[in-house]
């Protein structure tokens, strides 16, 4: 069982061969976007952070930018800075460069403003794209796959069809020795005891409990009880009776295997098996967190239709809702049909998703990639903007 991927100097395997133009701070976004638009083969990573934040958040932003830069789908990185931001650009450059890939920097203040920055940045990127275009895909076994999962714009079909199917694909990848990453800590509420039971060690069990409590306390500080109002009136109308049932319908997308570890947001997952990344459910922050974890592809299960992808990680959009498959066909890569009599649709769909992951890993494009949907991402932070 193998796929065709791009070898990286640090032993990782990419499924894409992009040069990323990464803003180190919100103030550099306009230049970053222009360079990426100018150079074929380049992608932009934009976000709202990097300055006027508390040290905890600045560290989180730095770590996330470093690990985004290390994502195996990137063959090289250009960091675009304004020049006076709080995050340390040279530190970010060094830490990404430790992976062996080329990393360049460009400061808008130093070079004399936007126009020379766009010109010089485009020149640097052009050279990098040509240089890495000679890297060829090679055969790697499936244990080199590292895949994320997400659900969004969910409906009744999510918990019944597409999430269990995604989970079945995760179980297959786990059995092939690969790495599976899920998160969305908010969705663990009411089912955290079930995840804790699946923890590989007592430390992992404790950590799962801790991230749920921490997230809940954060909401409490804002005066919000996240547990009391669940499931919502709309959920009950749709057939969900208890918070356990609602949360199980979400966490089922992570499969059924033992959980080897819990990572903080922005951390890189470095081992094989099934892992949790503590993360919020909102797409721009979640997708960034899981890209920083190092995933090559994200399975995204949707009910009524979430269109977004991510700049350099292909997002495989699946749905079990036949209406969404029809009306939002521009955004749905794979329809998981409702079962017919005598079929074990979930196991079969899991196998189909697994094969689709391998096709995408070997070069097949997703709809969000082709449309360029998912340009605007963000990094999760906890403190105030100062």
């Amino acid at each position: 069982m193998s796929f065709l991927g791009f070898p990286r100097p640090d032993g990782q395997v990419g499924v894409r061969n992009h040069i990323a133009i990464i803003s180190t701070v919100i103030c550099a976004n306009d230049v970053t976007l222009k360079i990426a638009q100018q150079v074929e083969g380049a992608v932009a990573f934009l976000h709202d952070q990097g300055c006027c934040q508390t040290p905890i958040d600045l560290n989180q932003v730095t770590k996330t930018l470093v690990n985004l830069g290390k994502n195996p789908n990137l063959a090289g990185v250009l960091l675009v800075s304004l020049g006076c931001e709080s995050v340390l650009v040279e530190e970010i450059r060094e830490r990404i460069a430790a992976s062996g890939k080329p990393v360049k920097t460009l400061s808008i203040q130093q070079i004399g403003g936007m126009l020379p920055a766009v010109a010089e940045g485009s020149r640097i990127t052009q050279e990098m794209v040509i240089k890495v275009s000679t890297i060829r895909r090679e055969t790697f076994d499936d244990s080199h796959l590292i895949i994320g999962v997400k659900c969004g714009a969910s409906d009744t079909t999510s918990g019944l069809i597409s999430n269990p199917a995604a989970g079945a694909a995760f179980d297959l990848l786990y059995d092939h020795g690969g790495t599976c990453v899920f998160g969305e800590t908010t969705e663990f509420l009411g089912a955290e005891h079930i995840l804790m039971r699946r923890a590989a060690t007592p430390q992992v069990k404790k950590k799962i409990g801790e991230i749920v409590t921490r997230m809940e306390q954060r909401a409490k500080m804002m005066g919000v009880d996240m547990r009391g109002g669940q499931p919502t009136t709309g959920n009950i109308k749709g057939g969900l009776t208890t918070i356990e049932e609602k949360s199980l319908g979400a966490i089922v997308k992570g499969g059924t295997k033992s959980i080897q570890g819990v990572y903080e947001y922005g951390d890189k997952v470095t081992k094989k098996g099934l892992y949790i990344v503590d993360s919020p459910g909102r797409e721009p922050e979640f997708l960034t967190g899981i890209a920083a974890a190092g995933v090559q592809i994200i399975i995204f299960s949707t009910g009524i239709g979430a269109p977004q992808g991510f700049p350099f990680v292909p997002v495989l959009k699946i749905t079990g809702n036949p209406k969404t498959e029809k009306y939002l066909s521009d955004h749905i890569d794979k329809f998981i049909k409702l079962p017919e009599e005598g079929e074990n649709t979930i196991a079969q769909a899991g196998e189909e998703i697994y094969q689709e992951i391998k096709a995408i890993a070997s070069g097949k494009k997703t709809k969000a990639e082709v449309l360029g949907y998912g340009q605007f991402s963000n990094i999760f932070t906890v403190g105030p903007v100062i």
Partner: protein, 97 residues
């Protein structure tokens, strides 16, 4: 092929979820403990809602996804509609201090 009318997500489950709006007295065939059984619905079950595959005594766990989703607050008979009127959450209130 005949469209499946309900889905049992895990073989340990004691409830099934309707994949269509089902009517009272309708007979649904499902596998229960590896045996094919005909289940006559005692009430109408809307799409996405649950009915019981087994008799669940009051105070016993209701199982979906192979896990406990709550406790039966009254006797649930085979083919009964299972929702907020006869299934209560075990979590969600007071378990996190």
């Amino acid at each position: 092929m005949i469209k499946k009318r309900a889905i049992v997500i895990n073989s340990k489950d004691n409830v099934a979820t309707a994949l269509d709006d089902l009517k009272a007295d309708q007979v649904i065939q499902e596998e229960v403990d590896s045996l094919k059984k005909n289940i006559k619905l005692n009430q109408g079950i809307p799409f996405g809602h649950k009915f019981s595959l087994k008799e669940i005594p009051s105070g016993s766990p209701v199982i979906k996804y192979g896990e406990v989703i709550g406790t039966a607050s009254e006797l649930i008979k085979v083919g009964d509609y299972v929702h907020v009127h006869n299934l209560k959450s075990n979590r969600g209130r007071g378990d996190i201090k």
